[in-house]
């Protein structure tokens, strides 16, 4: 049996715990505490990490980790990203400056993004239309990144599954290129 890891990151309230719960075999383990950050209207927040998992038909397991949202815990992000299959960055469009929020995670995972499959899911676009997805794409382009960028409602399982499928497509692209390289030699 093999075990793999997918990582979910994003700001407080972006929906990491909910996203993990949407695809986990069991309710995610959470390490929430009372939120003492008065700037965020949320009673509880994750200070450690969230954990869920799902099992494949061959017995392999995919573990789902949610990072703590606050950037002061960024030392944990790199630890969690080690040997991950992919990274889901969740953006909350209802926050004052979601593009700046995204920048924090792009910086925090800068080294990993050179190889690690990554997708950005933008939540609450229905109620907060600006910035739109094209604004996010422009930000990524300014940083020389072309990452999949999807609207997401983490309460909807299909949306979370699509994020995961997008990570898988990136893995497939890598593998195909590997095969071509070997063929050429």
């Amino acid at each position: 049996m093999h075990e793999y890891k997918l990582l979910f990151t994003g700001t407080m309230g972006a929906g990491k715990t909910t996203a993990i719960g949407a695809v986990s075999d069991s309710a995610p383990l959470v390490t929430d505490v009372l939120n003492t950050d008065a700037s965020v209207a949320k009673a509880r927040t994750t200070v450690g990490l969230d954990f869920g998992q799902f099992t494949l038909d061959n017995g392999d397991r995919v573990r789902l980790f949610g990072t703590p949202g606050q950037s002061r815990f960024d030392f944990l992000w790199k630890i969690l990203a080690k040997n991950a299959l992919g990274l889901v960055i969740l953006a909350d469009n209802s926050r004052p400056d979601p593009l700046a929020d995204l920048t924090v995670y792009l910086d925090g995972f800068r080294e990993e993004l050179a190889t690690l499959p990554c997708v950005v899911g933008v939540g609450r676009l229905d109620s907060h239309a600006s910035p739109n997805l094209d604004d996010y794409a422009a930000l990524l382009a300014q940083r020389g990144l072309v990452l999949p960028l999807l609207p997401v409602d983490v309460r909807r399982r299909d949306d979370v599954v699509l994020l995961i499928d997008t990570l898988l497509a990136q893995l497939e692209a890598h593998l195909y290129e590997d095969e071509n390289h070997d063929d050429a030699e």
């Binding site: 093999h2 793999y4 695809v23 799902f54 494949l56 038909d57 061959n58 392999d60 995919v62 040997n83 991950a84 299959l85 992919g86 050179a114 190889t115 690690l116 499959p117 997708v119 910035p131 739109n132 997805l133 094209d134 604004d135 996010y136 794409a137 422009a138 990524l140 382009a141 072309v146 990452l147 999949p148 960028l149 999807l150 609207p151 599954v161 699509l162 995961i164 499928d165 997008t166 898988l168 497509a169 990136q170 893995l171 497939e172 692209a173 890598h174 593998l175 195909y176 290129e177 590997d178 095969e179 071509n180 390289h181 050429a184």
Partner: protein
């Protein structure tokens, strides 16, 4: 008379919104029939002349209006910022007259030209496509994702995605018409080829089974 289509290419979002708004406000007359279009090819396109990456790809539009910095306009196809309604309307009216003199090429001809060009090339995304182009369609999103990671020919795209080759080619064509993909010659790609930065934890036999296993798990 069929309305002419106006698109935008690499313009700041605020100016795109402005142009869309103006296009809704311009009254349609017997000699002025224009509408805004999200995807090309267009009859005319507005682009940012101050951005070096804003060169309009061949075949995207027959007329190009460049937006420049204040007092930098140099020709009739150039207007200065801020975009003024009367200037845009005037340019579109003139452009409409010119376009009526030159028949619009058939879509079939344009499509074939792109396909022929694509024969010996691979494509890689420069920037994630607009939501309007992807339409939140999982298949389009998967194709765009593959192209975001690697330069691929349309037939390679079809092989990896297991989608029909015609569908992949059509998607590549639409990306190319909007200037979102970089064309990579196969010879150049082969010369530069080096081991891909594979996802670090995956051995290939494991990876194929894992990907299929996860997709089965979620009914994909």
């Amino acid at each position: 008379m069929t309305a002419f289509t106006l698109g935008v290419h690499n313009l700041p979002a605020a100016e795109v919104v402005l142009i869309k708004t103006l296009m809704r406000l311009f009254p349609a007359t017997a000699t002025f029939k224009w509408r805004f279009a999200e995807t090309g090819p267009f009859d005319a396109v507005v682009t940012d002349a101050t951005n070096a990456s804003s060169e309009v790809p061949a075949g995207l539009a027959r007329g190009v209006l460049k937006i420049t910095r204040t007092d930098a306009a140099t020709d009739a196809d150039c207007i200065t910022r801020p975009i003024r309604a009367e200037q845009l309307q005037e340019w579109l009216a003139l452009q409409g007259e010119l376009l009526r003199l030159v028949p619009r090429p058939s879509v079939r001809t344009e499509s074939r030209a792109v396909t022929t060009q694509a024969g010996g090339t691979r494509f890689k995304l420069r920037r994630w496509p607009s939501a309007a182009l992807l339409q939140n369609d999982p298949q389009r999103i998967r194709l765009a994702t593959l192209l975001s990671r690697r330069a691929l020919a349309a037939h390679e795209l079809a092989r990896i995605s297991r989608l029909p080759a015609e569908q992949c080619q059509a998607f590549v064509d639409s990306l190319q018409q909007t200037g979102l993909i970089e064309v990579v010659r196969v010879e150049a790609a082969a010369a530069k080829r080096k081991p891909a930065p594979s996802a670090p934890v995956l051995a290939r036999p494991l990876a194929g089974g894992l990907i299929d296993g996860i997709r089965r798990r979620f009914g994909l």
